[in-house]
């Protein structure tokens, strides 16, 4: 071994990855955290602003009660203790997205502390500890002008309420991180506290990663990674950083404590320009905001107002609707999906039929159209009607699926739609026989194949017939008619 303990030829050290997360979530309140401006996404630039969130001279912040309640709700759902006297502090740093050049955040007395979130199931469940959860204000948006030497600022987002959830460094790899984030997103979705969309920025994740020698108590130097805009980016960034750090350690070099920016296009991270004293935020309690004293009664009332959470709902669905545990598990992954199911199943229809539709066509379409369950527009009444019509063979499966795909993002009344477009199941034997005869006549080879014993050829002929009747005949009837004609 060489003198400094590192070696080139002898056994390389074994390292394990140690990951902690800082997750910022934009709360879905109507207004910003410290002023009455609307907190909506996507408005024209600088239209949701006022003197307070612009940091104009003489203006003062006033705290939004709903922010406190949502922060408490999320904290309680994560098993945290609520801090009985909570306060806001100023984090001072100069940057143009920050109108006062300080961010009002919480350092000394965050609103919630010491919670956990489990990942994995049953025996495999691991508790990921949550160090703290605090509220703070978001900054404005900067648009960098590529050729010019200016940057454009839109202050609409300045002052939008955020909660920041900080975990202990309990996560071990990218898979666990994704599982954690998905579960977190589900919990927050259940509370309807945020829509947690990484792509839209309503959920942002910073990853703190270090390597620790296996068996050692000592933590390695960690780096912080930012600009992780999708689960894919998070996974790639974690894997790349763990690799980068391992290579440095193996080569006998140290890890620099720094913030790195992930570039998903190139698949690498870059060190962000950091000055030696850039980290001195000079936190001190904000003198404009008196402390928030949270009573036992208030905590109780927030706890009582917590909606039914996932595990409860899953069990209830099994009990009340008689659907299998597996179905209940899938449907309750999102509170919107669950609500859609429940509102439909409450109408005069078999719950298992509803869950089948949702789990099958429903999830497939959501994925294909890149929609969130919350964006589904098909009303429960229309959904139930569609299922019913399909069950009673008023419309075939093919037609039902077609209508479903259309209605999922813009609601329609299936009964009138079917009538208007003549989509009812055909029961005209004469017409069917004519169509089948035509298909047989036009597909000699397949007919021959079938007669020579190739069952597959029948399937082809059924397909062709279905196409000719635009799917409006029950496949069983088509098959029966084809066989009849073929064997004639």
């Amino acid at each position: 071994m060489s003198e400094n303990g590192m070696n080139e030829k002898c056994t390389k050290k074994e390292y394990e990855t140690v990951i902690g997360l800082e997750v910022h979530v934009e709360l879905s309140t109507r207004t910003k955290i410290f002023c009455g401006c609307a907190a909506t996404f996507g408005a024209p630039p600088n239209t949701l602003v006022c003197p307070v969130c612009l940091g104009m001279p003489g203006t003062l912040p006033v705290l939004n009660r709903r922010v406190v309640e949502l922060a408490m709700a999320v904290g309680l759902a994560l098993g945290c203790d609520v801090t009985r006297t909570t306060r806001f502090d100023r984090k001072n740093y100069f940057y143009p997205d920050n109108p006062q050049n300080y961010q009002i955040s919480q350092l000394y007395l965050p609103i919630c502390r010491n919670g956990w979130l489990g990942i994995g199931e049953g025996d495999e469940e691991r508790k990921i500890r949550i160090h703290e959860l605090h509220a703070e204000e978001d900054a404005g948006k900067l648009t960098h002008d590529e050729e010019g030497r200016e940057t454009l600022v839109d202050y609409n987002r300045a002052g939008v309420p955020l909660i920041e959830i900080v975990t202990e460094p309990d996560l071990k790899n990218a898979g666990e991180v994704i599982a954690f984030l998905e579960k977190l997103r589900m919990v927050i979705g259940y509370l309807e506290a945020s829509d947690c969309k990484l792509q839209e920025g309503s959920m942002r994740v910073d990853v703190n990663l270090s390597l620790r020698e296996v068996g050692s108590e000592r933590m390695g130097t960690r780096t912080e990674m930012k600009n992780l805009n999708s689960f894919r980016a998070i996974t790639r960034a974690i894997d790349a950083e763990a690799k980068r750090q391992k290579e440095l350690l193996d080569a006998g070099e140290g890890i620099l404590q720094e913030t790195r920016r992930w570039d998903d296009q190139k698949g690498v991270s870059y060190s962000m320009r950091s000055k030696e004293d850039a980290q001195d935020y000079r936190y001190f309690p904000d003198p404009d905001l008196p402390p928030v004293v949270i009573s036992e009664e208030w905590i109780q009332s927030v706890r009582n107002a917590l909606p039914e959470m996932r595990d409860e709902k899953k069990e209830r669905f099994v009990r009340e609707y008689g659907i299998p545990a597996y179905d209940a598990g899938v449907i309750t992954q999102s509170v919107h999906l669950a609500r859609w199911f429940e509102q439909t199943a409450a109408l005069d229809i078999l719950p298992k039929k509803v869950s089948n539709w949702i789990m099958g066509e429903g999830l497939r379409l959501l994925r294909e159209k890149e929609m969130d369950p919350g964006d589904v527009r098909l009303s429960p009444e229309h959904f139930a009607a569609l299922i019913r019509m399909n069950e009673e063979d008023e419309i075939t499966n093919a037609v039902a699926k077609e209508i479903f795909a259309k209605a999922i993002d813009e609601d329609l009344d299936p009964e009138s739609y079917v009538k208007a477009n003549g989509l009812m199941t055909m029961r005209d034997d004469f017409l069917l026989r004519e169509t089948v005869k035509k298909v047989i006549a036009e597909n000699e080879k397949s007919v021959t194949d079938y007669k020579n014993g190739k069952e597959k050829a029948l399937g082809y002929l059924v397909g062709q017939t279905m196409k000719a009747v635009r799917g409006q005949v029950l496949p069983a009837a088509v098959t029966a008619m084809l066989k009849e004609e073929l064997n004639a």
Binding site: T151, L152, V153, P290
Partner: protein, 98 residues
Amino acid sequence: MISMETLERVGRLAELEIPENQREAARQDLEKMVTFVDVMKELNVKNVEPLYQVTAERAGTQNILRDDVVTEGEAREALLGNAPKRRGEFASVPKTFA
């Protein structure tokens, strides 16, 4: 007692320029002020709670909270009217680095 390094760091944090020929004077100024306030160290404040808000406790002004109701957002002209430089609907600032 206040080193030049400390002065320069404080100046950087405050985003203030201290020209070379004024630095020693500024350092002395800061040192005098710090020495002046150092007298507070004579007091034993180990178990004393800081007093950040003078009337909040006594007047019951804790939990001053706002309802989550939208009020008028009319300040675009106010902002842009006062901005040293603007580009359309945006305020324009010197180029930042990501």
